[in-house]
């Protein structure tokens, strides 16, 4: 028990002045200087197992379908070994690996499990549940259309989200700050807001000149409600003492709104942004499924129409990556804007 601890302490003390000089006041943790073997070997091991499983399962599969999966696993193996070799000299990579290796290894193990129960043991009905190799093959084969669909989804999502947020910030600030706007706006918000944007789909399809146009409007509507609600409540709950302080400093209404109330409401506003983002994903997929003739939602239902389930899963994989990337970016923006809350927020 005491041995590894001493082992870890040695290098820390030896290099601590160095580390301190580089990273300011931050103190290096012992674990960051040395990666346990089980961490950096986890991925190569998982990949090796995946290879074995794949070899066994693909005995009864056509060759081209297994090719890209082999390539994928090979690339993964190469990268993980390269990373393990480089990490002693690259502290940034080491910290990242320490955090990510177990998760990635677990993901690869899940792929194995998936392969075992689909193409291996054939426990699931075949056309509906393709193996990971099959899905990857569909992804590679149909990459052009998938890329195009993702691009269209991105455009639609961003324009709808941006429109919704822009309108919601204006209405939210007005309702939160001005008493008359609150009196007239709040009932409207409370009645119209809770209707799910997707419930408007049939109406929107009839009324609007183009499906694209109505989809942007629906996404904007889905975003508008939570962002307006949370902006308004954030603004109207601004601590009176902050406003009092600003007034005694000679602040006018412009300063009170833009430099006090809005920054004070920012944590709330961001909750609205996240809720709005979730609602916009849902509305995007629904709008693409029923009206718009492009995008990932459309692709899924189109592939399903042709009974190409490999493509359906490929699109779902892309969708997962696409949505979580956007979500992550919003988290990054939030961390920047709300640095002043650091240590206070935990979500």
């Amino acid at each position: 028990m005491s041995n590894p601890v001493q082992e870890l302490k040695g290098p820390v003390q030896a290099s601590s002045p160095n580390v301190k000089a580089r990273r300011g006041v931050k103190i290096a943790t012992p674990a960051a200087l040395r990666l346990p073997a089980n961490i950096f070997l986890a991925i190569p091991l998982a990949v090796a197992v995946a290879f074995g499983v794949h070899l066994w399962a693909s005995k009864n599969q056509p060759a081209p379908e297994t090719n890209s999966y082999n390539l994928f696993l090979g690339a993964l193996l190469f990268l993980s070994i390269a990373a393990a070799a480089v990490q002693p000299f690259w502290s940034h990579l080491r910290r990242w690996m320490q955090h990510m290796c177990p998760i990635i290894a677990a993901a690869i193990s899940l792929l194995c499990l998936w392969e075992v129960i689909t193409s291996g043991l054939r426990w699931l009905p075949m056309p509906y549940f393709p193996s990971p190799a099959g899905v990857l093959q569909s992804l590679v084969d149909d990459r052009a259309l998938l890329f195009d669909s993702t691009w269209h989804s991105l455009l639609l999502l961003l324009s709808g989200y941006a429109l919704g947020v822009a309108v919601a910030l204006v209405t939210g600030v007005c309702i939160g700050w001005f008493a008359p706007a609150r009196y007239w706006g709040m009932p409207l918000l409370k009645v119209i807001g809770p209707i799910p944007a997707t419930a408007w789909v049939p109406l929107a399809m009839v009324v609007s000149p183009s499906a694209m146009f109505s989809a942007v409007g629906l996404i904007a509507l889905a975003v508008w409600f939570p962002v307006t609600m949370l902006t308004a409540s954030g603004i109207s709950n601004t601590r009176a003492s902050y406003l009092d302080v600003a007034r005694t400093l000679g602040a006018g209404p412009w300063y009170l709104i833009f430099r006090v109330a809005i920054p004070a409401a920012m944590p709330n506003i961001f909750i609205g942004f996240f809720m709005g983002l979730g609602a916009s994903f849902l509305t995007l997929v629904v709008a693409e499924t029923v009206g718009v003739k492009s995008g990932l939602g459309w692709y899924v239902s189109w592939a399903q129409g042709w009974a190409e389930y490999g493509k359906v899963y490929a699109a779902l994989v892309i969708m997962a990556a696409f949505f979580s990337t956007i979500m992550t970016m919003l988290f990054k923006v939030r961390d920047r804007v709300l640095v002043w809350q650091k240590g206070v927020i935990k979500w």
Binding site: V245, R247, L249, R259, P263, V339, W340, G343
Partner: protein
Amino acid sequence: MVTSSAQTVATEGASLRFAGVSKDFPTPDNVEARTVALDNVSLSIAAGELVSLVGPSGCGKSTLLRLTAGLDTPNSGELYIGTEMITGPSAERGLVFQDPNLFPWLTVRHNIESGLVARGKLHEKRHEVAEFMRLVGLETFANAYPHHLSGGMAQRVALARALINHPKVLLLDEPLGALDAFTRMRMQDEVLRLWQARNTTMLLVTHDIDEAIYMSDRIVIMTPRPGRIERTIPITLERPRQRNSPEFLRLRGEILEMLHFAGAEKATA
């Protein structure tokens, strides 16, 4: 360092006059009854005078300061700055609140600057920000956010934030209450230095009799429910004052006795 800026920006204090000021609030648990926070308070403060306001908790000291700042309006009576009636807040009447109330989304530097930003004077007077940061001893924390500060540091930032507007009247609601004894004495001297350099009128709420005697020209003693002025005691000790001189200690004893007497009278009534 600040004296030099005080020469370039010669701020003249302004006189204050409270004429029969009363303020009551609705009582939370009773719709009919009202809590009388201030009852017919009249007081004149000369330009450049430093007056301390002492009294037990709840006697309306903060209320009087808020009225003077223009954040609340009295139910009856008037407040004047010079000959002008106070109708709303203004940068010429700075207020340091009982809680620091720093803007948590701004760094120390930007909190101190906020008065300049609010008045659109940041370009003109940016150089003063560093001076005030040095004054309150927070140069090294310029880029820290308020939640990294101790209570005393936060209160010093609040002081600097109010001072940067060079107000004619500075209203201080226990601004040094959260400070340790040493910082507190140092800040008392700094506030006195500013007061003398600028001739600012100051109204200081404090619970500390020593602080009141050390700093003020006059001590106003208040009694609670309803908030009234019990008496005012002029302090004529030579400045700079010695905290341990016999006269100081004698005065302190007298005032403590007076306050105790005021309390006993209240209890029998």
